[in-house]
């Protein structure tokens, strides 16, 4: 009896979310994911596999070229192992990148959703502030901030966030504005739900796609910006290594020890490229309209 009424089983895809499936079949995104995971693995596991500590100074082995004496990437002017310093620097640079992602995305989302939901004067004021922040070249603003604070990884992450939240705010604002008049928001109003509930429980979850895309691109941007200001000497201060400050002294040894410049720059490029590829994949995954382009 019961057997007759059961419908033939529809083959369920292994991964239910369509966006996730699209993302996993995006070639560039997978390459990016591989790059980022590989680099993360190297930075967090690598130091335990190397024969040298990142602070061990060996003055007899100054400027050892890559591959000599167990130094796979060579040594710096003090005879410290570049590989060990690079991996430690990676931990810090990537931590800063992720911290900025969390802070900037949160601030940007809140500003965006408040501005998009209330509209009118509140939106006008908030969006002018966004425009004003966007009028400064971010490196200028960042340096002006960094020069006058006590630079530690936490403060660096905070000030990079201060120059990185605007894009998320714009994206979320536009998204919320278009969602605001849809039926489910009207229904929430009718139920008498508070503005805060509607903004954070109804509107924001529906704008999650663009937010995730922006977040992944923010990591890339933050790693780049950290490198810029640390290279110029206003970011993370030695002896704490970061990818940017490893390059800080590299220019004067460009002729004699080019690996000091080449290796950290490659690490930055790989990390940033990885996050940009992932961002591109996420954009395609969330936005089915972009498929045709």
């Amino acid at each position: 009896m019961t057997a007759a009424t059961t419908t033939p089983p529809v083959r369920q895809p292994f991964i239910k979310s369509r966006a996730l499936r699209r993302f996993l079949s995006h070639k560039l995104a997978m390459i990016g994911l591989f790059m980022v995971l590989g680099l993360t693995f190297a930075c967090f596991v690598g130091p335990y596999l190397l024969p040298y500590d990142e602070l061990y100074i060996d003055l007899r082995a100054r400027f050892a070229p890559p591959g000599t004496g167990g130094h796979i990437f060579g040594t710096d002017p003090l005879g410290r192992d570049l590989a060990a310093r690079l991996f430690h620097a990676g931990q810090i640079s990537m931590a800063v990148g992720f911290a900025v992602m969390v802070i900037a995305t949160t601030v940007g989302s809140v500003v965006g959703v408040v501005s998009g939901y209330y509209g009118g004067k509140i939106s006008a004021v908030l969006m002018r502030v966004v425009d004003a922040f966007l009028s400064f070249p971010s490196v200028f603003l960042l340096l002006a901030l960094a020069a006058f604070i006590q630079p530690g990884p936490v403060m660096i992450a905070v000030i990079i966030s201060a120059t990185s939240w605007m894009e998320v705010a714009r994206i979320v604002e536009a998204e919320v504005k278009s969602l605001r008049n849809q039926d489910f928001v009207q229904a929430a109003h009718m139920l008498g739900l508070s503005g805060r509930w509607i903004m954070f429980r109804e509107l924001l979850p529906n704008a999650i796609g663009p937010i995730i895309v922006a977040a992944s691109l923010t990591v890339a941007r933050a790693i780049l910006l950290e490198a810029y200001i640390s290279f110029l000497g206003y970011g993370i201060q030695p002896p704490l290594p970061s990818w940017g400050n490893l390059l800080n002294g590299a220019q004067q040894y460009l002729g004699s020890a080019p690996w000091l410049a080449i290796v950290p720059g490659l690490a930055i490029t790989i990390a940033v490229t990885g996050f940009n590829f992932i961002g591109d994949g996420l954009r395609d995954a969330f936005d089915s309209r972009a498929q045709g382009q």
Partner: protein, 316 residues
Amino acid sequence: MLRYILSRFGQSLLLLLIVSFIGFAVLNLAPGGPLSQFALSPGMTQEQIDKIAAQMGLDRPLIVQYFDWLQHMLVGDWGTSYRDGQPVLHVIESHLFATLLLMGTATSISITLGSTIGIFSALRRRSVFDYAMTVASMVALSIPTFWFGLIAIYIFALNLGWLPAGNMYTVGDGSVLNYLKHLIMPACVLALVDVAVWSRYMRTSTLNVINQDFVRTARAKGLTRRRVLFKHIVGNSLVPMITLAGLQLPMVLGGALVTETVFTWPGMGRLFLDSLGYSDYPVVMGLLMASAMLVLIGNLAADIAVALIDPRIALE
């Protein structure tokens, strides 16, 4: 049209006001403040520091200082440099040309190269070339400008010896050729990121134009491919690029700062870093304002240009 221009102008002024307030707040609310450099000198008592603060008017409430500064700025008095006592505006002016030369050259390179790549990518959509350029532009966007500069110096100056590694000219040689030789490497390095951005946007813009009716009509009229491309497609897909050129300005200016440092180019970026090193607040503030003004003027010019080309925009 005039109303549109005036309203855009008013918006820019308002924005500049907010920008000046943010810039002022950022510099003055930071711990330390303009007086921190005096606190470092030995034998300086708190009393003396207070005296200096009173002399310079730094003991007044911040909002009063802001309006005082704003008032002076509006009449062209941007203060005097703490370092050498010169008027800030004069200091900035003497570094402006070098930066504009670098940015102008870089932007010309990126527009030419980026648009060409973008158009070809669009015409040969999903070809190997298109795919390669997509990947290449994303990698180019990920390369730190200063590192690319270092690598360029390593290859072209140190190993091949074709180009000088820095500075704007050789002392004692003021020929145009000499300037060009010094200009080419930093300009190309600065242009790299922008080429990537331009080629992406140009590709999208060209794709939008290709699918429009007037292009189909032009083809149906029997015009040659070349004529359709140059007369109908290229011109129309360049229009949105004018806006992009304005929007890209902060990025180019920020990139110029870093590029100037690597190539010891005597522009605003170098001045900015030097002034930071000396805690030269008036110059730092002046440069923040000058860069924001450049950006706002650029955006305003771009918007007006687009409106003049496409009058429908002014009616919205």
